[in-house]
C-alpha cells in the first residue's frame, strides 16, 4: 500500500497522487518500483544516507548557536519528479526572467530608462540599501551581473507555477542538489537504470566555464578562477569548499588576497598569483573595507579599484542585490515586459507593498490570512505566516508593520503543492518548493535540470527553509 495511514486527500495539490486517487504520470515508474520495495530496506537506506552526509561533512552551522552544533539538513529519499514538458515550460520562464533581471541591472546602473518610462518608481531604487551608486556607468566584464541565480518556484496546481523569489545575490543550496543525487545513486542505483533521469553532475564544470567566459580585460591566457568564502565558520562553508573542489579552483579568504600590481592576487606557496574571476560568497558590504564597510575582515582592501579598472571579475557583480529586493519583486512582470517585449511566462505571486497606504490598509485587515516578509529578509527569518500565528504574534507584527510599513511586503498564503516524504508509517504529504540554479555568461543561459527541492518536514508546515527545520529531496527531471 503506497499511502501511509495518515494520508488523506488534502485540499493541496499533490505532485504524486491525483485527486482521483491515481498516480500522476511522472511518478508512475517510481511508484511501481516503490510498491515492490521492502519498506524496511528503504528505512535502512535512509539511515545510511544520514551517516553518509555526516561523514562527508555536509552539515551547516546555525547562526547564534554553539560551535559544536553542526546540523544535518534532513534528507528525504522520495524524489520529487518533474516531467519533461513541465520542465520545458519552467526553464523557458526562468531563462526569460534571468535575462530580464540582467537587462534591468544594466539599465539601472546606466541610463535608467525604466525609471524614466515610469514603469518602476524612482524611490524604490534611490532609497534602496542594495542599490550601489558606485556601480553607475560601470560595465562588468561580459556585461553580466547575475552569473549565478536561484529562482524560487512554488506550485499550487497541475498547471500553476509561481516565482516566489529571485535570488540574485549568492543563492546557496547547489551542493545539496548535487550531493542528494550522489546519495540517491549510491542508495538506489537500480532506479536510475530503470527511469531516464536527466543528469545534474555537470553543474560545477558549467559554472567554471560560465565564470571563465566572463574573464576581465586584464586576463591573459586561461582565466584563473577562485571562490571567496568568509571561512570555515560560515554556515555555507561546506558548499564553498565543494564548489571550489569540483571546479578545481582555489578556495580563498580575504586574508589570502591583496592587491599586487593592479591585480587582486592570492598568496600561494610560490608568491602572489593574480586572480581573474572571483566567485564571491560574501556580501557586497564586506567586499572591500576601503570602499565599503571599514570593519570588514572578509574582503580585500582595494578590490573595488581593481574591479573598476577591469582587473577582475566579481561574480555576482556588486550591486546585484537590488534585484533580490522583495519590494522590487512585485514589479517583475513589468520589468520582464519592458526588456523582453513579452509577457512573463511564469507569474509572480500577487504582492501587496506595505509602503503604499491602500495596500497597507488591506494587509492589516487581512493579516491572519497573509504571509508578511521583510523587504530585505532571507532564510525565513523575520517573517509572519498569518494562518499559523498566534493572536499575540499577530498583534506584535501588526505593531511592527505600522511602525515601518516600507520594510514589508505581503502575499496570500499559497497552497503549496505537496510531495510525499518517507516516514515510519509510510508516505505522507509535505509541502515543497523548488530552487533551480541558473548560470549566465555571454555565451548564454544554462539551467541545470531540476534544482533543489526543499520540503517542510512537519505535517502542515509551509516553511521549507533549512534554518527553520526544512529538509531536501533529490529532484528529477525526466527525459522526453
Amino acid at each position: 500500500m503506497l499511502r501511509g495511514k495518515g494520508w488523506r486527500i488534502s485540499v493541496f495539490f499533490d505532485e504524486m497522487m491525483s485527486q482521483e486517487g491515481g498516480t500522476r504520470s511522472p511518478y508512475r515508474d517510481y511508484c511501481g518500483w516503490f510498491e515492490a520495495e521492502d519498506a524496511a530496506r528503504i528505512q535502512r537506506k535512509t539511515q545510511q544516507a544520514e551517516a553518509f552526509f555526516r561523514t562527508t561533512g555536509i552539515t551547516f552551522n546555525v547562526y547564534g548557536q554553539a560551535d559544536a552544533d553542526e546540523r544535518l539538513i534532513p534528507f528525504d529519499v522520495v524524489p520529487r519528479i518533474i516531467s519533461a514538458s513541465e520542465w520545458r515550460r519552467l526553464s523557458r520562464g526562468i531563462e526569460q526572467r534571468v535575462r530580464a533581471l540582467n537587462a534591468f541591472l544594466h539599465d539601472i546602473y546606466h541610463r535608467q530608462e525604466i525609471l524614466r518610462a515610469g514603469r518602476v518608481p524612482t524611490s524604490l531604487i534611490a532609497g534602496n540599501e542594495a542599490f550601489l551608486p558606485m556601480m553607475m556607468g560601470l560595465d562588468p566584464p561580459g556585461g553580466i551581473y547575475t552569473h549565478i541565480s536561484g529562482t524560487d518556484i512554488v506550485r499550487t496546481g497541475a498547471d500553476e507555477f509561481y516565482v516566489l523569489e529571485d535570488n540574485a545575490r549568492t543563492p546557496s543550496g547547489v551542493s545539496y542538489m548535487l550531493e542528494n543525487r550522489e546519495t540517491m545513486l549510491q542508495m538506489f542505483p537500480e532506479l536510475f537504470a530503470k527511469i531516464p533521469v536527466r543528469e545534474v553532475s555537470d553543474y560545477p564544470i558549467n559554472l567554471l566555464k560560465s565564470l571563465a567566459a566572463c574573464a576581465p580585460p586584464a586576463c591573459q591566457g586561461t582565466p584563473t578562477v577562485a571562490v571567496l568564502t568568509p571561512g570555515i565558520h560560515n554556515s555555507a562553508y561546506y558548499e564553498h569548499s565543494f564548489l571550489a573542489d569540483h571546479m578545481g579552483a582555489e578556495l580563498v579568504e580575504g586574508h589570502d588576497l591583496r592587491v599586487v600590481d593592479g591585480r587582486v592576487a592570492m598568496r600561494t606557496t610560490q608568491g602572489y598569483k593574480a586572480i581573474d574571476v572571483l566567485y564571491r560568497r560574501v556580501d557586497d558590504d564586506y567586499l572591500d573595507p576601503l570602499n565599503f564597510r571599514p570593519d570588514s575582515m572578509l574582503g580585500v582592501p582595494g578590490i573595488w579599484d581593481v574591479y573598476r579598472a577591469g582587473g577582475i571579475t566579481i561574480a555576482n557583480a556588486p550591486g546585484t542585490g537590488i534585484a533580490d529586493d522583495k519590494a522590487l519583486y512585485s514589479y517583475m512582470p513589468d520589468i520582464i515586459e519592458f526588456y523582453t517585449g513579452e509577457k512573463a511566462l511564469l507569474p509572480n505571486v500577487p504582492t501587496w507593498r506595505c509602503s503604499e497606504p491602500d495596500h497597507l490598509r488591506e494587509v492589516l485587515d487581512r493579516l491572519p490570512e497573509l504571509v508578511v516578509k521583510e523587504v530585505h529578509g532571507s532564510g525565513g527569518y523575520g517573517m509572519l505566516v498569518g494562518p499559523a500565528a498566534s493572536r499575540k504574534e499577530l498583534a506584535a507584527f501588526r505593531a511592527k508593520l505600522e511602525a515601518n510599513p516600507g520594510n514589508y511586503i505581503a502575499q496570500p498564503t499559497l497552497s503549496l503543492s505537496t510531495v510525499p516524504i518517507f516516514t515510519k508509517k509510510g508516505l505522507a504529504p509535505r509541502h515543497v518548493d523548488l530552487r533551480p540554479f541558473v548560470l549566465m555568461s555571454p555565451q548564454g543561459v544554462t539551467i541545470t535540470p531540476g534544482g533543489l527541492t526543499r520540503v517542510a518536514m512537519t505535517s502542515g508546515s509551509l516553511v521549507v527553509n533549512s534554518s527553520q527545520g526544512g529538509g531536501t529531496k533529490d529532484t528529477w527531471v525526466l527525459e522526453d
Binding site: 571550489a244 573542489d245 579552483a249 582555489e250 586574508h255 598568496r267
Partner: protein
C-alpha cells in the same frame, strides 16, 4: 597552492601526530601508575611536562592524581593539547584545506573527529582507558593510511608529511628532554643498570620497546637507548629518521617549485651537524644540552618553512 592551504595541511598533520603521541604518553604513564603507585605522581608530572602542559595543569588542578591527569589530557577543552582539542584543531585545519585533500582523507579526519567526540563525551573509566587509547592511535593510523593511499605526491602531500615528521621529532626529543636524567647516571657509572621499568617507559612512549629488544637483545644500556632514539635511521620515531625525511621532502618541494629554500638548507645542516653521530660524542657534549639544542633547531626550522612557503602573511 595557497600558502594558507599549505599551512593547514602542515598543521593538520602535526595535530594528528600529536594526538597519537599524547595517547602513547598517557599509555606509558598509566602503566607506571598501575604498577608503581608511589612514583605515579612524579610520572604523571613528567608526562605533562613532555606534553608541554604542566603549567596549565597546575594552574587549574594541583595534585597529580591519575584520574585528574588522564581527564585533563584526554578531554579538557581548556587544555590546548588534550586529545579532544588537538583532534578538533586537526579537523578545522582539514576543513580549511578541504580542496587539497582527497575525499578519503577528509572523511578519515572527519570520522576520527566524530568517533573521538563520541568516545570522550564522558570521563573515561580506567578500565576503558586502554581501549580508548587504542582507538585514538587507530584513528590517526587511518588518516595516515588515507593520505598514503590516495594523495597525489605533490606539494600538498609533502607539506602534510613535513608536519608529521616535525611533530614526531619534536615529541621524541621532548621525551628525551624529560627523561635524560634517568639515562645519565648509568653512563657515568658503567656497569650499573638503569631502572628497567623507567627505560621501558621511554621506549613504550615511542612504541618501540619490542623493536629495541630485537635490535639490542637483553642489553639495557643508556647509550644504546639514546642511540636508538636519536641516531637509528631505521626507527621511524628517531630524530635521525624524521630529519632525514624532512630534508628529502624539502628537497622534493624545492625541485617541484624549481627554487631551493632556506628551510631546505637548515634541514641539511641539522642532519649534518647534529645527527651524524657517534652517540658517545653526544654524551660527551652533554645529553641535556644536545636535546635542548635540537628542540631549538627544529622550532627554527618550522618557522622557516612557514616563512619560505608563505603559510601566513
Amino acid at each position: 597552492m595557497l600558502g594558507k592551504t599549505a599551512g593547514s595541511l602542515f598543521w593538520m598533520a602535526r595535530y594528528l601526530e600529536r594526538s597519537e603521541n599524547n595517547a602513547r604518553l598517557i599509555d606509558a604513564g598509566f602503566r607506571i601508575a598501575l604498577t608503581r603507585s608511589a612514583t605515579a605522581p612524579a610520572e604523571w608530572k613528567s608526562v605533562l611536562v613532555t606534553a608541554g602542559v604542566n603549567q596549565a595543569f597546575q594552574a587549574t588542578h594541583g595534585d597529580y592524581s591519575s584520574a585528574r591527569v588522564i581527564d585533563f589530557l584526554l578531554r579538557d577543552p581548556a587544555n590546548p593539547s588534550s586529545i579532544i582539542s588537538v583532534v578538533k584543531q586537526a579537523r578545522d585545519n582539514a576543513r580549511t584545506a578541504r580542496t587539497a585533500l582527497t575525499r578519503e582523507t577528509w572523511e578519515a579526519v572527519n570520522t576520527s573527529w566524530m568517533t573521538l567526540v563520541a568516545l570522550l563525551k564522558r570521563p573515561v573509566r580506567e578500565d576503558d582507558l586502554p581501549d580508548v587509547l587504542t582507538t585514538i592511535r587507530q584513528q590517526s593510523a587511518q588518516v595516515r593510511g588515507a593520505i598514503n593511499g590516495t594523495m597525489l605526491r605533490n606539494d600538498g602531500y609533502y607539506f602534510s608529511l613535513l608536519g608529521t615528521l616535525l611533530e614526531r621529532a619534536d615529541n621524541t626529543a621532548r621525551i628525551l628532554d624529560v627523561k635524560y636524567y634517568l639515562l645519565l647516571p648509568s653512563v657515568a657509572h658503567i656497569g650499573t643498570t638503569i631502572d628497567n621499568v623507567q627505560w621501558e617507559t621511554i621506549l613504550r612512549s615511542v612504541s618501540a620497546h619490542r623493536a629495541y629488544r630485537w635490535l639490542y637483545g637483553a642489553e639495557i644500556s643508556a647509550l644504546k637507548i639514546a642511540e636508538f632514539l636519536i641516531l637509528y635511521r631505521q626507527m621511524p620515531r628517531s630524530l635521525a629518521f624524521c630529519c632525514e625525511r624532512m630534508e628529502d621532502n624539502l628537497g622534493q618541494l624545492a625541485e617541484g617549485y624549481g627554487e631551493p629554500t632556506e628551510a631546505g638548507r637548515m634541514a641539511a645542516a641539522l642532519n649534518r651537524e647534529r645527527l651524524a653521530g657517534p652517540i658517545q660524542s653526544i654524551f660527551d657534549g652533554g645529553l641535556h644540552e644536545y636535546v635542548t639544542g635540537f628542540l631549538r633547531a627544529t622550532a627554527a626550522l618550522a618557522r622557516q618553512i612557514e616563512r619560505d612557503y608563505r603559510f601566513v602573511e
